[in-house]
């Protein structure tokens, strides 16, 4: 057959044409995605100056959720409505959430004095909450039959623990109000 000599030119033209076509489609898709992303991005409050304050509020809301989860878990375990593996897992998960809140606050660079004060208040409240949740985990372990009775920091009763957790939750709320959160 009159097979084309592989003289390059024609072959290259054809191939290039093909590559350009698929490249053009990909290009359109990318442009569309970026355009959408930027327009959508503009509508969100994160882009505004109160960024640091919002980040503090987010971290505190997260911590608040963790403390409330722990309170619920302790109440359920005390009423024998939840199994100890679930209770232990639930509280352990909350310890991790509080770690995240802490690192969110510690890695934040507050741009001004106001947000700096908010951050510091938040750090104190989260540290306090972490202590209480860790204590709750020890209490759960003891309820599960782990021999931790020697550990001095473990609250003796569920109601003591609940009171501590409630105080920690209130402190978080106060700090959150300071950061303008609901």
């Amino acid at each position: 057959m009159r097979t084309p000599a592989r003289s390059g030119t024609i072959a290259d033209v054809g191939r290039r044409a093909r590559i350009t076509r698929s490249g053009a489609v990909l290009g359109h898709v990318l442009v569309l995605a970026v355009a959408l992303a930027t327009t959508a991005g503009c509508t969100v409050s994160r882009q505004e100056p109160g960024q640091a304050t919002a980040a503090v509020a987010d971290a505190l809301a997260q911590a608040g959720s963790a403390v409330e989860t722990t309170r619920l878990t302790v109440r359920l375990l005390d009423a024998d409505r939840v199994t100890t593996p679930v209770a232990d897992a639930a509280v352990l998960d909350q310890v991790r959430v509080l770690e995240e809140s802490t690192s969110a606050l510690t890695t934040l660079v507050p741009p001004d004095d106001v947000s700096s004060a908010q951050r510091d208040a938040g750090l104190v409240a989260v540290a306090d909450a972490t202590r209480e949740v860790v204590a709750a985990r020890a209490w759960v372990a003891r309820e599960a039959g782990g021999d931790l009775s020697e550990a001095g920091a473990v609250p003796l009763t569920a109601s003591e623990l609940q009171a501590d957790l409630a105080r920690a939750a209130d402190d978080l709320d106060t700090a959150l109000a300071l950061a303008g959160g609901a």
Binding site: L36, A37, A61, E68, T69, R81, V82, V86, A89
Partner: protein, 409 residues
Amino acid sequence: MKRLLGVALGILTAIGGFVDIGDLVTNAVVGSRFGLSLVWVVVVGVVGICLFASMSGRVAAVSGRATFEIIRERLGPRAAGANLAASFAINLLTLTAEVGGIALALHLASSVEPRLWIPVAAFAVWLVLWRVKFQVMENVAGLLGLLLVGFGVALFLLGPDWGELLRQAVPPSPPATEHVATYWYYAVALFGAAMTPYEVFFFSSGAVEEGWTAKDLAQNRVNVLVGFPLGGLLSVAIAACAAVVLLPAGIEVSSLSQIVLPVAEAGGTLLLALVIVGIVAATFGAALETALSSGYTLAQYLGWSWGKFRRPARAARFHVTMVVALLLAVAILMTSVDPVAVTEMSVVFSAVALPLTYVPILLVANDPEYMGEHVNGRATNALGMVYLVIVVAAAVAAIPLMIATGAGS
């Protein structure tokens, strides 16, 4: 009588098989943050998956070709190859989420570290794929998954203010504390969770392998049209439990352990134990389906022999693909990534990938070359086009919303 039993079994497994880790996590997260104000999305998603699954089942049964064979035929090797890469990656993400879900649920049952459960769970999935008669595994996983009805029981035991729940749902009224972009982000995630594409690969491949007759097709349509809406009701119950117990306490769901707390509150340890078994079964069943789907997509694109009815040696590349997918899933989980985060990611990307499978199925369902007299009717096509718009809109919006909201935080 036996026939009735078969229908009942089919419906029950469809209900149990509807909920997977994606539905579980997304519904609980949404319930704890938005109450029932996103229930409408579940309704839209359930109608969509009914339409999509029954259409792909019909296409597969009539044409004798499974979904990814059709995608390759219609889109050609290049576009279908891109589609394959995306679908396979997202399916792998879903598989990872399901295996992680099994491990988390077993952690709740045993308090043994999830990291130790991950390889065990993956091995068990492989063993079942390798050895167990398919009908058996599908029915066992589906029926045990039905224990998730415990969420519905819990909702009644909680005795919520039904009027208030209804007010949240109709008209949808999201809490003022949440940003509107976050609301829509979770709407897309919930839609992706209800309409996960792997169910369609799975469903259509089954139809081809089993060589469905008109009778089989009719029965499967019943399974889908009755089972999936009831499964959707289960999803709503999960969201409602979170909305009743967690939302007022200001708890935002970020882990599986929080999802089951409302059940414990309502029904105590017994109901809790049943629900945990249900979660293990539902995620295990979904892990089987997603692992199979990874084999189906690749094998169908490349024309390999595939299928659960073949001896593994008669579908060697198919089985090797599934093993590789499971190993990849384990490797991802072993980087100590949070399975719940993987799940949230997987449902959003499922929404992104939906048009890739939905569009070819819709087109082929209208092609007389494939379908003969069984082409779509007018009503199906009208609904099909409405969903085409919804599916494309969700896919286009998903990633911008994800970036804008910082993945919903």
